[in-house]
Symmetry: C2
Subunit: 111 residues, 2 copies
DNA sequence: AAGTGATATATCATAAACGGATATAAAGGA
DNA sequence: TCCTTTATATCCGTTTATGATATATCACTT
């Protein structure tokens, strides 16, 4: 049973890291992955990365995995992490849907 | 020309407040609106609310609007705020799409 | 008329999150 | 040999979030 807090809502960097680790990756590869996937829009630096890795390990949402390369540390999202990520995808979907409806309703005020 | 910083990515409370103010509301009504729309899942307290209102005013994403009730202060999202919100909706949509694809791809690993 | 709960705005002070800069070191190429 | 990239890690200042508290008005009950 993991000890960490519940992490009700995931912040953007936490979200991206969990997504990156759906397939096993080491830290540096996470940074590259996020930068590539967002076309350079979103960058995660080492400070943010390793801080969050620690937190996610503690929360049991990711776990370490053996790696042949000795100077690498590879991680992967756990089952709990996948579940949490799915929850968060739904939460964010609802936010997008709400905003979309509100924005579209605004256009036709007088009905 | 507003002075504030660009606010590249919007945090959750900022997002909700901008959505709430697509239709003119006063501070307290924003709190109620967000709590209702999220079925009590997401709550914005006064500290968060008024801190962000100040920042959004400064950034020109919302503006004050006259209100008949003297003890109320009503705000509304500006054109710039609407534009920013639309940007953010797209950004969040892309995040949701990425995660959805990654999660679904994971299921069928061996093709 | 007094009391109570909801309405309404605002700040304080702390906590949590982020992120640039820096450090260290090994690997690969010119 | 030197430089860039890979790779992990922490320091520490800035930003952001938020519970608690304060103040005041309004609506309703007793």
């Amino acid at each position: 049973m993991p000890k960490g807090k519940s992490l009700d809502e995931l912040t953007d960097p936490v979200f991206y890291i969990l997504v990156a680790l759906v397939e096993a990756r080491h830290g540096y590869a996470i940074m590259q992955y996020v930068e590539e996937e967002t076309e350079g829009t979103f960058k995660i630096g080492p400070a943010t990365l390793y801080t969050i890795i620690k937190k996610l390990l503690d929360a049991g949402l990711i776990e370490a995995e053996p790696d042949s390369e000795p100077r690498r540390k590879t991680y992967v999202t756990t089952a709990a992490g996948i579940a949490k990520l799915k929850e968060e995808v739904e939460r964010r979907s609802r936010m997008v849907d709400l905003a979309t409806i509100v924005l579209q309703t605004k256009g036709r005020k007088g009905q």
